[in-house]
């Protein structure tokens, strides 16, 4: 049991050592530790603030992104609308040009056909005329085959041509 009863002298020295240790720690150890903890707290606070700011910034950026995306979508819609209109306009113009070209081609073809027809008719007319004259020539030669008729004709033409007119 004596072991469980503290000796006053030991107690005294233990208290003294504890006091000295306590003073030393209070003087040098604890301030350093608490300072360190405070600095860490500050850093953590700062990091937390920065993270909040970043979050805030991120949120802002997200908003901006949304806005930009919205604008882009609107712009895209507008461009699509414009391009649709332009496409329709171009199609319309191309159609008109094609119709115009077609009409021109049609007119030209009609004119060419008309000329062809006229040329063919003219050709036929010329052939008929040529044939008629050839026939007339043959008939005349046949009719003038007898020498007397030829002489009569010459005689008459001499009178008609050379006789002074009254």
């Amino acid at each position: 049991m004596d072991l469980m009863i503290p000796d006053s002298g030991l107690l005294f020295w233990m208290l003294l050592a504890f006091g000295i240790l306590f003073v030393i720690l209070a003087r040098f150890g604890w301030p350093a530790i608490t300072g360190m903890v405070e600095r860490r707290n500050e850093r953590i606070d700062k990091a937390l603030a920065a993270a909040a700011a970043a979050r805030q910034l991120l949120a802002t950026l997200k908003l901006q992104e949304e806005k930009i995306l919205q604008q882009s979508r609107e712009e895209q819609e507008k461009l699509l609308e414009q391009s649709r209109a332009l496409r329709l306009q171009l199609i319309e113009e191309a159609k008109e040009a094609a119709e115009k070209e077609g009409q021109l081609l049609l007119d030209k073809t009609r004119e060419q056909l008309r000329l062809e027809k006229e040329e063919a008719l003219q050709e036929i007319r010329l052939q008929v005329a040529s044939l008629s004259i050839e026939i007339a020539e043959k008939l005349l030669r046949g009719q003038l085959e007898p020498e007397a008729k030829q002489r009569d004709l010459i005689d008459r033409l001499v009178d008609e041509t050379l006789k002074p007119r009254a």
């Binding site: 005329a129 040529s130 030669r141 008609e160």
Partner: protein, 185 residues
């Protein structure tokens, strides 16, 4: 110098020379025949102008054409050919013959015409034409006849700068033209 002018001068000189020797009419007939020969014999001019041939042989080309003519007229022609050969003007002979005939006709007031038909005209018709062309002096009209079967019928008459075309070929050609035929005959 101009060939035509040279020929004209030679023709004028030949006419004067022929008149002096009373051979102008004979020479007129000779020159007409010479002109015809030049048209019908393409090598005549080249042969007559060939200096390598003997002069007499070249002269004989023409002199042999007129065997029945008065010797005095033949002398005139011979002397003229001598002159041409001496002067080296053989190439002017064709023009001289034509211009001699023109000058002779001018001098004698002869109207010269070419009458073309498909068959030879009878004397009565020629006489009628002469009378129509020169009623006061029909014997001064000289008509040369040419045959052209292409006329079909009728006649053409050329007299100096005048031309009468009463041929059926021309009538048919005019009909063809009126139908738009560009080339017919």
């Amino acid at each position: 110098m101009n060939e035509g002018l040279i020929a004209s001068r030679y023709a004028g000189a030949l006419l004067q020379y022929a008149i002096e020797h009373h051979a102008d009419t004979d020479l007129y007939h000779m020159m007409k025949q010479v002109a015809d020969c030049y048209l019908n014999v393409p090598d005549l001019g080249r042969t007559f102008g060939n200096w390598t041939l003997d002069t007499e042989k070249r002269k004989a080309l023409f002199l042999d054409l007129f065997p029945g003519y008065n010797p005095q007229s033949l002398d005139v022609l011979s002397n003229f050919l001598d002159l041409l050969i001496r002067q080296r003007r053989e190439n002017a002979m064709h023009s001289v013959s034509l211009q001699y005939a023109d000058k002779y006709r001018d001098r004698h007031g002869i109207l010269y015409g070419v009458f073309t038909t498909t068959l030879p005209p009878d004397d009565g018709l020629l006489e009628k034409i002469r009378n129509l062309l020169n009623p006061g002096n029909p014997e001064k009209v000289e008509l040369e006849w040419k045959e052209d079967p292409d006329l079909i019928g009728g006649f053409t008459l050329t007299l100096g700068m005048n031309e009468w075309d009463a041929s059926l070929r021309t009538r048919l050609r005019e009909v063809g033209k009126s139908y738009g035929l560009k080339e017919f005959y």
